[in-house]
Symmetry: C2
Subunit: 783 residues, 2 copies
């Protein structure tokens, strides 16, 4: 690569401009049972219709899940969304596992492999099934089960426009862009062998795969087969390839489309999309790809070389993705040789590396001349390092990792998976990895990896959208603002449940305790009796009126418990005056209400439906007769659901002044050792935010209180409504009760991921209320 070009580019482009692009990833993978056999169950219903979910669908087989990220301008974001999608698959496939290998698991014969079912609801569905039947007939179903990674890559249009402005020399923008991408395609085909060497992982297989392929391998027992030098069977002639090599021209779009039409015409392939190349040129149009390429030009490139990496939950390590990115820039900048037979040479090198890459002596050919893999690889990686350094791309670490893989083949994935297969057998080795991935996904099921700048409730909603195939557009992360779209319905959503479903005055009425009470009373719903004080000089009068009665004194409009005094045993005139004074610090109006005795419950109502009831219990530990309170707290805090800040559904218990005081009042210190089974409370308040436990009691709550909560939400006209009900004793037939407060932006994560009890699919209820999905259907809990 010419250094002067890099030096020139450096003056013209910020590294940011070179790094931004449009990136998307597709990952296929088989569903398998606990013994590593292909799952013969249908695609999980929760993912909705296969043609309707843009994120999670099937590929060839009903048992072959395909996850598809949207495109993002950062590779890292794309990869994190891929992680979220794979987490969702892991959590939604019940007792099954997401097979981590490109080469299939323990599979039945061709006719037993279920082809993806689309129903027969529309022509598209019928076509999809017909196409798969054709593939099965032509290539056999087994081969179709090979899974892989596709990386979709493009520069931003702004970048290409700038390139065009500087270097375009009068050529039209579309032609210039096509020429850029065509050069990249040609160079990628020249250097694809390096991608295979560095990322290949399909060096082993199972005896149930196609017999002729198995025959090329060596058995190691347990039905496992390995090969001494193989890197990627998927990229060998045993992989997913056309029957005969096809070399369409990449000199121009016109030449390319002519060739592909010819291949179809003479029956080499049934359709343009059956041309299985290592890299594809993609256009705006999907169904009429050739015409769209001609008319609109190349929109992005699809890199199809990469095997599933079984060591990675996503099937693709970030470091490999970064390498691919650096290589794509290289394909743009690297000058081309004028060697004529470069396509044949590219295929030879590809298949050579695929089968013999771990042979340290392997020779490839470059422009017709033999060259050692290692020498050529290091030469390319050196150039990449120089490029990264000059253009300030920060790929040094990544490239060092790749150089190490070249210098020491034992560091390749292919070598590592072969050794693991020798040790555990093909099925067990991959199944163990799948189980590990599944456990990781489960433990972090409440959050996302890609949307951590959002509040937890919004993350949960986004995750549900990815799960259900509802399209998410992020419009202002700092404000938790999204657009959700599905089936022609479009909603703006803020903070997970602020939507167009609620009207403005309902929210304002709920924000105002006085107005809320007026409305509830009007609807015959029991609320605590009380009065309102508008001026501090009325304090004494009302203090006299309420002296000795159990009351709550609170400011009119705060929501976080600030300024509230609970005088549940009744207070003196002075006590009450003091409480009124405190409340006046928070609002111009102060309320005195009768104190309702009992336990407070949070009822969550969404769209006229009671979806969850929660009891909140103050931070506590239960003794084991041996551990100190401090140790018990530490143990409880190890729960991955507990954290600090707004990213976890439960909070860590901390020893602050209030905790210590609260323990002291019980004659305890953090070093006290509670007896077996004795529950010790560490605080008086039951807020989740101070380490309290959330306990789902939806199923045991008597119906009449659930009805009351729905009735209260209806009274104010709220679609999303948290209803706080104080109940003397739920078990008592004629228990007293009353509504303490309504909340227009109720916390949802505490219901979705409670400390104890059933996890409730709140986000699904939200999507249903918004008309974005039809039913709650299967959920993580049910699955």
């Amino acid at each position: 690569m010419k250094k002067e070009i890099l030096d020139l580019l450096k003056t013209q482009f910020e590294s940011e401009e070179l790094l931004l692009g449009e990136y998307g990833i597709e990952r296929e993978g088989l569903r398998v049972d606990a013994e590593g056999r292909l799952a013969l169950t249908p695609h999980p219903k929760v993912f909705g219709p296969k043609l309707g979910n843009p994120y999670i669908t099937t590929d060839f087989s009903e048992s072959q899940v395909e996850v598809v990220t949207p495109t993002y301008t950062s590779m890292s974001k794309t990869h994190r969304v891929l992680t979220d999608l794979c987490d969702i698959v892991n959590n939604q496939i019940g007792e099954e596992y997401f097979w981590p290998q490109s080469m299939p698991c323990d599979i039945p014969e061709d006719d037993q492999i279920p082809i993806a079912q689309y129903g027969s609801s529309c022509q598209k569905a019928i076509d999809a099934e017909e196409y798969r039947k054709g593939l099965s007939a032509r290539y056999g179903s087994k081969k179709q089960l090979i899974s892989g990674i596709h990386v979709n890559f493009s520069f931003t249009e702004e970048f290409i426009q700038k390139f065009h402005r500087i270097y375009g020399k009068g050529e039209s923008y579309k032609d210039y862009r096509d020429r850029m991408y065509l050069k990249m395609v040609r160079n990628f085909l020249r250097y694809r062998w390096l991608v295979i060497y560095l990322t290949g992982t399909s060096s082993t297989m199972h005896e149930t795969y196609i017999a002729e392929c198995v025959a090329k391998m060596h058995p190691t027992g347990d039905g496992s087969y390995i090969h001494p030098t193989c890197v990627s069977f998927r990229n060998s002639d045993c992989g997913y390839k056309n029957e005969e090599p096809l070399y369409p021209s990449y000199e121009s779009i016109q030449a390319y489309t002519e060739d592909v039409r010819r291949f179809v015409a003479r029956g080499d392939i049934s359709a343009p999309k059956e041309l299985y190349t290592q890299i594809r040129m993609k256009a705006e149009g999907v169904d009429n790809i050739l015409e769209s390429l001609e008319n609109d030009g190349i929109k992005y490139l699809e890199i199809r070389t990469v095997d599933l990496n079984p060591f990675e939950l996503t099937g693709l390590a970030m470091v490999d993705l970064d390498f691919i990115h650096s290589l794509m820039l290289y394909t743009l900048l690297k000058e081309e040789s004028n060697y004529m037979d470069w396509q044949q040479e590219g295929l030879d090198n590809e298949e050579g590396v695929a089968v013999e890459g771990l042979n340290t002596e392997i020779l490839l050919t470059r422009d017709g001349q033999p060259i050692q893999l290692k020498d050529w690889a290091l030469e390319i990686l050196d150039e990449l390092c120089e490029m990264s350094e000059i253009l300030n791309l920060n790929y040094g670490e990544t490239l060092l990792t790749m150089i190490a893989r070249v210098k020491d083949p034992k560091q390749t994935y292919a070598y590592r998976i072969r050794e693991l297969t020798k040790e555990k057998g093909f099925i067990q080795a991959n199944l163990d990895l799948a189980k590990k991935h599944k456990e990781i996904s489960w433990n972090r099921r409440y959050a996302t990896q890609a949307f951590t700048e959002y509040e937890l409730s919004t993350q949960i909603l986004i995750k549900e959208c990815l799960n259900r195939g509802v399209q998410v557009t992020e419009i202002d992360p700092s404000d938790n603002f999204l657009i959700l779209e599905s089936r022609g319905v479009k909603h703006y959503v803020k903070q997970a449940n602020k939507t167009a479903l609620d009207n403005y005055i309902t929210v304002l009425a709920m924000e105002n305790k006085v107005v809320t009470k007026i409305i509830l009373k009007e609807h015959g719903i029991p609320v605590p009796d009380g009065i309102q004080i508008d001026a501090p000089d009325q304090s004494k009068h009302w203090a006299q009126v309420f002296a000795g009665r159990p009351i709550v004194v609170k400011p009119k409009s705060t929501n976080y418990g600030w300024g509230i005094s609970i005088l549940d045993q009744g207070g003196s005139v002075e006590d009450i005056q003091k409480a009124i004074g405190i409340a006046f610090e928070y609002d111009d109006t102060v309320l005195i209400e009768e104190f309702l005795i009992g336990q407070e419950y949070r009822f969550l109502v969404i769209d006229d439906e009671l979806v969850a009831v929660l009891k909140r219990v103050a931070a506590n530990v239960v003794g084991d007769g041996q551990s100190t309170i401090r140790d018990l707290v530490a143990l409880k805090n190890q729960d991955p659901r507990r954290g600090v800040g707004y990213q976890k559904p439960l909070k860590k218990i901390v020893f602050d002044e209030q905790t210590l005081l609260y323990l002291k009042l019980q004659g305890l210190t953090p070093e006290s050792i509670p007896e077996q089974g004795v529950q010790i409370f560490l605080r008086g308040n039951s807020n989740i935010s101070t380490g309290g436990d959330s306990i789902d009691v939806t199923d045991t709550m008597p119906q009449k209180y659930k009805d009351l909560a729905v009735q209260a939400a209806r009274a104010v006209g709220a679609v999303f409504c948290g209803v706080d009900i104080m109940i003397e004793d739920v078990a008592k037939e004629n228990s007293s009760y009353g509504i303490i407060e309504l909340n227009f932006n109720p916390s949802t994560d505490m219901h979705a991921y409670p400390y104890q009890g059933q996890e409730r699919p709140i986000a699904a209820y939200t999507l249903k209320a918004l008309g974005l999905i039809d039913d709650i259907g299967l959920t993580e809990e049910d699955a």
Copy 2:
């Protein structure tokens, strides 16, 4: 009155309990033309259907407006609402005047007096007209034109319940309450002469009144007639009375209803409501009054003795209302004599005082014994003073005023109006007062007297409701929260335009400038280009990008202009970094937008309709060649529309540091004398809140910008929307323009009462959007 009773009551009741009640006032009044002739125009259309407006309707004649306050627990609030209603009438009757006298103006003969028209849309309307025709036939239309004040009085139910608990002795609550009110009625009838003496004002009349009545008076020229001793012709036999005195029993409800039924049966009156007593017992039911009295008991008392006070805009002075209140308490507490002929005596005393009250020698009879008016009056007033003192009622001042009227008849209204009539003539004296009242009402047309704890925009809305007959329920004044109801439609409204019409997410989208821009752009609406900065460490990069370009730097989510820097000439990297730093003090996200040149206009859209466009001009004065800037400001500040705080549509210009600096930069001081016609600006910013001028430009604004504003509101789905559009030059065909901001809670009072230009009936548009009225119809401006 027995002192021991007062002493006992003092220990049992707080003065507040004795003063709270349910008070309502009705005031009738004729519409007259500029010459004091009865207006023959129809009842103003703006008040809506007569049967549909509970506040402003007609009485007997089409030309006789009747205003009716809702009931309030405080006399003072009721009186202030009466003021607002009278202000509305004054402002809505165009060139006509609201006749301030009980005795009619210059009226035509009976058959020329228009009876109130109700249309024939329903049975109720037909009945109302039929009833009036019957009255006209029986009493003549002239008598029906006499107008007066009715005061509706009741204790609160809580008060009566407490009385009943203490003194009830096993009697049912309903019976006890009836007995309380019956005693009050009897006592009121005994003491009503005192009310007539103290408040009577109908001591003069016009020659066009009924001939037999005029014949009893002395002419003073100009068609005016006076009488040497008369206090209240309205309460004499020339007033609005039954043909023969009727004395129903007030011993029990049963006895009363039997008597009234007998009067109807024998044809003395056509219906129970035709029994014109000085005080009426009112029940829950209106149409079936006697049955309702029997079944539900007495709900309140209607005091009908009081003449219109022409010296008062409302027709009723607060001091007289206070006196009536004290007298009502007196009627409850004062022991009764057992004199049998008390009803006849009450009538004799009434008519005696009515016609001869100003005769200082007049003798009344008490329990059959003669007594001088003055002696008896002072005795009663003394007892009232004692009552007020012991029970801490704070009526001392009021009672002193009344004592003065007794001691010196020249201080009575009757005397004063007689003297004024002698001086100016009957028509002119009253017309001058009416004109004065009308001017006062006009000058304070933008605000209310009764709802001053609300923001001005809410006051304007309440006033429009009173105008249109939309029922207003105040549910939280400190939060500007109302319920508005009309024709079966009910709306909660906060701060004048936060309603159920707007959905929550629309408001949140408008609150967020980034989201607003995304939505507007999506709809093809021009917005300034710009970028968003999420972290201060990006400041330098963006400062470099925007250096030298005209830009605005602003925090993402504030609304009051805080933290905004306008670099309209372009800034250096350092300038921009500094501006970004300032903006980051207000929000976590900062926007940089291209600066649009031109003038900013505020477009107000309500429910898809462009209702007003405003230009805001910075605080300024225009020189006269003689006055200093300080004097010109003082003069401009005299505009009654200018004030401080949130009660006026314009703000006073103040000389603060910024003003002085701004003048200094122009080489001026407050003592400079600008030349004739030269406009001097006192500030750089054009906010109304800092003394800026609001100028309505709705009629001259080109349609395309109005359409754009409506389109923008529609894009975000807003029903109430303030749209700020920057326009390079409205006069230019291809002027550049762009939308700067949308406001979900747009200020409305600046459009309703601009400094210059047409006043826009914003509140009426709001009520129409809410479905509470049918059309904007006539407005203050049109009228």
